[in-house]
Amino acid sequence: MPFAIVQGTAVMVLPKDLYIPPDALEVFLAETFEGPLDLLLYLIRRQNLDILDLPIAEITRQYMEYVEVMMDLQLELAAEYLVMAAMLAEIKSRMLLPQPKRFDEEEGDPRAELVRRLQEYERYKQAAEDINTLPRVGRDVFPTDVARPDLKVVRLPPRVELDDMLTAFREVLQRAAMYEHHHIQTEPLSVRERMSIVLSTIKRDQFTDFSDLFNIEEGRSGVVVTLLALLELLKQSLIELIQTDAYGPIHVKVADTAEHGTAE
C-alpha cells in the first residue's frame, strides 16, 4: 500500500522529519491535482469559500503548506506550483497596501485576475466531468452490428466533365504550339468523325460499294463531309478505292497493307 499518491506518484515512505499539516494527508489520499488552479479550487471548495471574495492571506497560507509538503516528500513539483506561489504572495502584499482612492480605478482588485483564472479553469473542469458522463459508445450506446448479405462490389469508373477534357486539350494545344512541326491541323470535326465511321464500316477482305457510304438524306453538306473523309483516308493510305471500269462502280476496302481491320 503506498502511503499516498501525489500527481500519480506513489509515496511509500514518509520522510522522518516531516511536519504534515493536519488535513494534508487526507488531501493526498483523496485525489491528485491537475495543477495549482486545481489545488486552489480544492482548498476553496473544501471550506465553502466564495470564490469572488477570497480570503487571500488564508488561502495563501494553506496553499504554501501543501506545496511545502510536496517539496518535503521530494515529489517532482511542477514549476507551475511555484509560479502560483509567487503570484499569491504578490497579491497578498498588494492587498495589504493601503490603496489611495485615485489608484483604484487603474488597478482594481488585485485578486481579479486570479479569480478570473480560477473560474475559467473551474468551468472547464466541470465541462470535463460533464463530458465524462455523456452516453458513450461501448458503455451506454451500442450501435447495431447486423450481418451483411453476400455482396458483389463494383468498381466504378471516374466521373468526367466535358470541361475537364477541354481544359486538358487546351493545355496540350498550348504545349504543342511550342513545337512548330507539330502543328495541329484543323479539319472540321465532322470530317474526323466521318473518317472513323467509314473505317468502322468498311471491311478488309470485302469490297464496300462507294455509294453505300453516302447517305443522301444528309443532304449536300453530309455528302461533302463523307467525300472529304474518304479523301483524307485515301491520303493517309488507310483505304483503297478500286474502279475496274471507267464509269463503273467504285469499291472501297481497307488498304491491303494494313494488317487486321477493325477491332469490332
Binding site: 491537475e34 481579479a112 479553469y121 472547464y124 470535463a128 450501435p143
Partner: protein, 230 residues
C-alpha cells in the same frame, strides 16, 4: 420506387453500414437521374424512426449521420456481453478534450493557459489517434502552433448530433461587478481590461457552439480569433 420500398432499402443499408451514414451517402445510393428527393429520404427516415417506437433499437442522428443503436434502456443487457470494460480517461485527458470541444479551434498553449499546467504530447497524440480531434490549421504566431478541433467521430462516440448538444458551460461571474455592488461604487469602475477578457471568453465559448461543423469553418477562422485576442 414507392415509399415502402425506399424505406426498406434505407433500413437495409443503415443496418449493414459499419458507421453512421450521412444524407449525402444515402442520396448517393441512387442513380443521379433517379434519386429520391432529400425530403423523401428524410420522410422515410422519420417513418423508420416511428417504427422503432415499440422496439429495443432506435434510429439516431449523430455527428456523421444516421445509425441504428440499442436504446439505452437495454444497454445494461448488452453490456453483459461485452467482455471489454469501457476505457477510462484521465482528468487531464478529459479537461484537454473539454477545452478543445468548447473553445475550438484552440492551440496547446491556450489549453495550458486555462488549465494552469502543461499538456503532455501524449494526451494530444492519443486524442488524435482516437480520431476525436484533428489539426485544422495553424495560428499565425511565432512557432505556428497547431489549432485543434473536434471531429465528427467525437460527436458519434458521445452520441451527439452537433456541438450544440454539449452540456452548456457554467457562467462566469465578475469580481469587479460584485465588488461594485458591495462597495456601492459607481458601475463605471469596472476595469475595461477585465470586462473585455471576460467577454471574450464568453464569446469564444458560444462561438464554437454555434458552428455545427467546426471542420468546415475552422480553416476560415484561423486568423480571426487571434487578432481578436492579441
Amino acid at each position: 420506387m414507392n415509399t415502402q420500398e425506399l424505406k426498406h432499402i434505407i433500413e437495409a443499408v443503415l443496418f449493414a453500414a459499419e458507421s453512421p451514414l450521412s444524407m449525402n451517402q444515402l442520396t448517393g445510393l441512387f442513380q443521379a437521374d433517379n434519386a429520391p428527393e432529400p425530403s423523401t429520404i428524410k420522410q422515410a427516415l422519420t417513418m423508420i424512426q416511428e417504427d422503432c417506437a415499440d422496439r429495443s433499437i432506435e434510429l439516431k442522428e449523430v455527428g456523421s449521420g444516421y445509425r441504428f443503436q440499442v436504446k439505452q434502456d437495454y444497454a445494461q443487457w448488452v453490456a453483459k456481453l461485452w467482455e471489454e470494460r469501457p476505457a477510462r480517461y484521465s482528468r487531464a485527458t478529459l479537461e484537454t478534450l473539454a477545452l478543445i470541444a468548447y473553445r475550438q479551434p484552440i492551440t496547446r498553449g491556450e489549453i495550458e493557459d486555462v488549465r494552469g499546467v502543461s499538456v503532455s504530447s501524449q494526451i494530444i497524440k492519443s486524442l488524435i489517434e482516437r480520431d476525436w480531434i484533428k489539426v485544422v490549421g495553424h495560428r499565425d504566431v511565432p512557432g505556428k502552433p497547431a489549432l485543434y478541433a473536434t471531429t465528427r467521430e467525437f460527436l458519434d462516440y458521445f452520441n451527439l448530433k452537433s456541438l450544440d448538444e454539449l452540456p452548456s458551460l457554467a457562467e462566469l461571474r465578475d469580481i469587479d461587478a460584485i465588488n461594485a455592488e458591495l462597495e456601492l461604487v459607481m458601475p463605471e469602475d469596472r476595469q475595461p481590461a477585465d470586462v473585455e477578457a471576460d467577454d471574450q471568453t464568453g464569446i469564444a465559448g458560444e462561438d464554437s457552439f454555434a458552428t455545427d461543423s467546426p471542420e468546415l469553418t475552422a480553416t476560415e477562422e484561423i486568423d480571426e480569433p487571434l487578432s481578436a485576442e492579441n
